[in-house]
Assembly symmetry: C2
Homo-oligomer: 406 residues x 2
């Protein structure tokens, strides 16, 4: 007997048949005596269809209106699942962002949740109903519809679980958990049974698409256990939880590859105080996230500054740098979009020396040249040639003995 | 300089190109110095697509959830039109039922508007923006999304025009006004320049699909002039207005045919007080609207009761009568779905005797047998064989000299 939040992604509600399967699972959970709050994404493909419609009508469509537009995707799936549940004898009610009082800031297309007033949800649950909440959407102080950014339904679910002090937030998706590496790259990749918030955060930031980063942050902040599992099977998935509870505190938990990377090289920057700041302040002002930064040693009073950004923002980043530095202050600005980032993540790194060195050695043995390096307490990332990404991931996955025993 | 409410139907916003055309017209109206409130329907076909999805998941889908489902259609078109207006330099904001505080009762799928709080609308207009309101939808006292029934966007528009005391409510559709008869049946049918609310009400009730009945009722109650016109041309359409202002107070304003009719014949009903009441109370309890009723003179203590209902409710009506009267109280119950209703409508009938008689004579001359008759102050309807409907309309249209002079 508890309170369980279940979130179903786009493929899990992608067709009437899939919606029926979800309804059966929800009914089963309720049959075990639990209160259930369901959070749904838009049916697979629907958000992209709506975005394309909006973009067909305007090159730079109004952000407020785009949020009102795409929020309909989750409204449709929450209504359809409620219809299915009610028809099957499980009383249910759909609730939209404004009905569940999911208050966000006013940053359209990437709003952040500020408060949730759980009164309407409690009322639905108290009447013995399943609450089916449209994910991804909220409402700002002025009553405008906002959305939480791609994958935002994960965050909706975790935030609701936190507000309701749910026992667990189950995230149903089309994979059955978190793996030591992408199984399409490493066939011997192993499903991880438990993993810490910190590791999951790094994995999500580094290209593992299982969970939205923000949802892991919220879960960590409020101590909500997340259970990532498949809506296509009953197998246990991966539990994301506090470090103490994450039993497998291994040196390296997983290897990731992120292809959404581009390298911007600013040649011949005059090496005087404040020039680097000018570059990165200008990028920050336009909300471009910079990942790795390398500044070479100065030569003849000039230096090269290299940094990486998301591939989709590379052109914009180059233009911003062009605007920020007069051509007399710098040489050419080069763009290299043919790069990827491979990373290893693991809590154990904190207490084990030499993990980074071992990574560099494994890459060298695989003939992979490292273009840039960045590290945190629990991860090491290397920027490499895009064409060598698969080889690099395999070499690291094998070298750190992450796969199933052969 | 005034305030104009413009409502665009499903075909008028049925594609990105059509939405652009609507945006141009809105911008033009605004360019003439008017404040503009736009009300939009769902893109053509969208409501049916959503209804089909819901019905695929439940034979009798939950009404509250169906409303939440189909309301997304208008949300999408209001957002798309706002995106288009903003991109073209006309500041605009979409507003949903709950944002414009379109408060209705809680009768899902056929809610009625109770109040409109025009504060949010006024604020949008005061900032020099076009308000683009999602039609068809409202919100009940508990915050649930409701819808106003098929064609409900007309009513949304007229109700908003009433609340804002707009100068006119323009209803843009795919025909360019109200005609003396369906031009597909009578090629010489004439567009009517002005018509009274009363006549329009009768025409709408009798199968003319130009305006939702409820919208005409609201317009009449609050004295809102409606201008029915085509979104595909700039031609003047038909103005629906008070009787005093309706210049063409002709004897017969138009002829209509409604094929959505079925006749239920209850044979051999025991002729005792209360039996007819039992039939029609039972039908009313299940919200079946009965139109014509005929009770034959009694013979051997038994009589026949015949009534007409909408074709889609005929089977249900028969079952209700079967349940309401024991078989000992009645004979067989027959269903005749092969009927239609032709009607003539005109304010002038009130002061001209013999209009009904002329109608019956014209039908007789055309060889049309009349199965039932109903009349009001300003209309006469005859139930006839479905196969004779077209001939009947043509005979009446010609006989009352409604067409263009040849």
């Amino acid at each position: 007997m508890g309170l369980i939040v279940q979130k179903y992604g786009g493929t899990s509600v992608g067709s009437p048949d899939r919606i029926r399967a979800v309804a059966e699972r929800v009914a089963r959970t309720r049959g075990e005596g639990h209160d259930v709050v369901v959070v749904v994404s838009a049916m697979a493909g629907e958000t992209n269809r709506l975005l394309a419609l909006g973009r067909e009508l305007a090159a730079a469509p109004d952000a407020r209106e785009m949020d009102a537009l795409v929020a309909t995707g989750e409204q449709v799936s929450s209504a359809l699942l409620s219809i299915t549940l009610n028809a099957a004898g499980t009383p249910a009610r759909s609730l939209l962002g404004h009905q569940v009082r999911m208050r966000t800031d006013g940053a359209f297309t990437k709003a952040r949740i500020q408060t949730i007033d759980d009164a309407s949800l409690r009322e639905v649950l108290d009447r013995g109903r399943v609450a089916v909440v449209a994910g991804f959407q909220g409402v700002d102080a002025a009553g405008n519809i906002t959305t939480l950014g791609r994958g935002g339904s994960d965050t909706s679910a975790v935030a609701l679980a936190a507000a309701l002090e749910a026992d667990v937030c189950e995230i149903y998706t089309d994979v059955d958990g978190v793996y030591t590496a992408d199984p399409r790259i490493c066939p011997d990749a192993r499903k991880v049974d438990r993993i810490s918030y910190e590791e999951m955060l790094e994995l999500a930031s580094l290209g593992a698409k299982v969970l939205q980063i923000r949802s892991v942050e919220v879960a960590m902040k409020f101590g909500v256990p997340i259970h990532v599992r498949s809506s296509f099977s009953d197998a246990e998935g991966t539990v994301v939880t506090r470090e103490d509870d994450a039993l497998e505190s291994v040196v390296v938990a997983g290897v990731t590859k992120n292809d959404d990377e581009a390298r911007v090289i600013v040649r011949g920057v005059i090496d005087q105080p404040g020039l680097a700041a000018s570059i990165f302040e200008a990028l920050a002002a336009d909300n471009i996230s910079v990942d790795m930064i390398i500044q070479n040693v100065s030569e003849d009073g000039r230096t090269d500054v290299t940094f990486t950004v998301a591939d989709g923002e590379a052109e914009q980043a180059r233009e911003i740098v062009e605007g920020a530095l007069a051509s007399s202050q710098r040489g050419a600005i080069l763009l290299d979009r043919d790069v990827c980032k491979v990373s290893i993540v693991g809590l154990g790194m904190r207490s084990h020396a030499g993990v980074a060195a071992k990574m560099f050695r494994l890459l060298a043995e695989a003939g992979v040249n490292i273009q840039a390096i960045s590290t945190s307490e629990i991860k090491v990332s290397c920027l490499i040639d895009a064409g060598q990404g698969v080889d690099a991931v395999r070499a690291l996955h094998t070298g750190f003995s992450l796969g199933h025993p052969q």
